[in-house]
Symmetry: C2
Subunit: 196 residues, 2 copies
Amino acid sequence: MARTQGSHSDITGPRVREAALRLFAQHGYAAVSMRQIAREVGVQAGALYNYTPDKQALLFSLLQGHMDELLAAWEAEPRPQGARDRLEGFVRFHIRFNLARPEAIFISYMELRNLDPENFAVIEALRKRYEGALEEILRDGQTEGAFSVPDTRLASYALIAMLTGVNTWYRAGGRLSIEEVADIYWDMVRKAVSAG
Amino acid sequence: MARTQGSHSDITGPRVREAALRLFAQHGYAAVSMRQIAREVGVQAGALYNYTPDKQALLFSLLQGHMDELLAAWEAEPRPQGARDRLEGFVRFHIRFNLARPEAIFISYMELRNLDPENFAVIEALRKRYEGALEEILRDGQTEGAFSVPDTRLASYALIAMLTGVNTWYRAGGRLSIEEVADIYWDMVRKAVSAG
DNA sequence: GTCTATAAGGTGATAGAC
DNA sequence: GTCTATCACCTTATAGAC
């Protein structure tokens, strides 16, 4: 859909980001050209450079924006007293948040290697802050005696991987609702960290 | 390392595959050029086409070879009587096998979307056969009364994701040996499928 | 089996007109 | 802010010499 000339900065900017997010998620950063993004938005390739200095900055901005949203949303969640309830909150929050943004989650895991080293370090630090929240819950639960988790670092890696895996198979309109999925995963997580 | 002319089919073939595997894992299929692979092998780009009809076939062949190895190795494992012991065997096998082939595992998860549809279908079928082995163990354990896993399909997804996640953080020479990692993961898996 | 040369086309990014 | 045109370069794949 080629477009006539004119000024549209306020709507074109978000549309560039949306198109890039969708295309990067579908085909991968390296496989998507600036011309493809421009075609999707309905402008010529040169016009994209009013919204990003280059392709790399576009990827970085998408990932950083996503991580900022994730951390803000987590920090806005209620914080129950006991570690058990906090863990349940984390499990349900993670599944719910990830399933609401499958494309951002996807590129956050797949395109890390396409970030410049400085950009990678920034995203990695944000990711560690989020995963650190889970490890802290596990450590608290271990201290309280509510969990039996000898290695909280490994357990946090294991649980994050398990929960994030939901995005690889869940499809809206399938057999289970998001809440039913979260119930089943919470049951497995609860048992995995228990004294057993 | 540019090379003089000469015939080396028996050694060049494997070297092409090794170089492609390493480069695809490091930078991604779309980001790696045939010239880069050729440079790594020490031949000119045109010579690669003696070993693969095109770049796509090279990727497919790497993934298919990996899946064939995986299934053969799993089918060669001992098959204990009870579901509990079979599950323990699966957990230890999966971690051990995956950590021995980090590059093949990586591209098996990252480059699926870069396969042509027909090639994707082949790899997907092999992957489902492997994951089906885990689901079967869970189903048997549920029938035997050894496990409490209401949804064996979801549980198999959850456990596979958890186990495969080891590859994202494990580094040889780190704090824990592969066997220690497997012990810790088996403990979590065992509890996750228990009556709790 | 490997080389060199080349076809045919795509790439990120910029300059200057409007 | 968007367009057109362009630069300099890279891409996959093939042809034909050796």
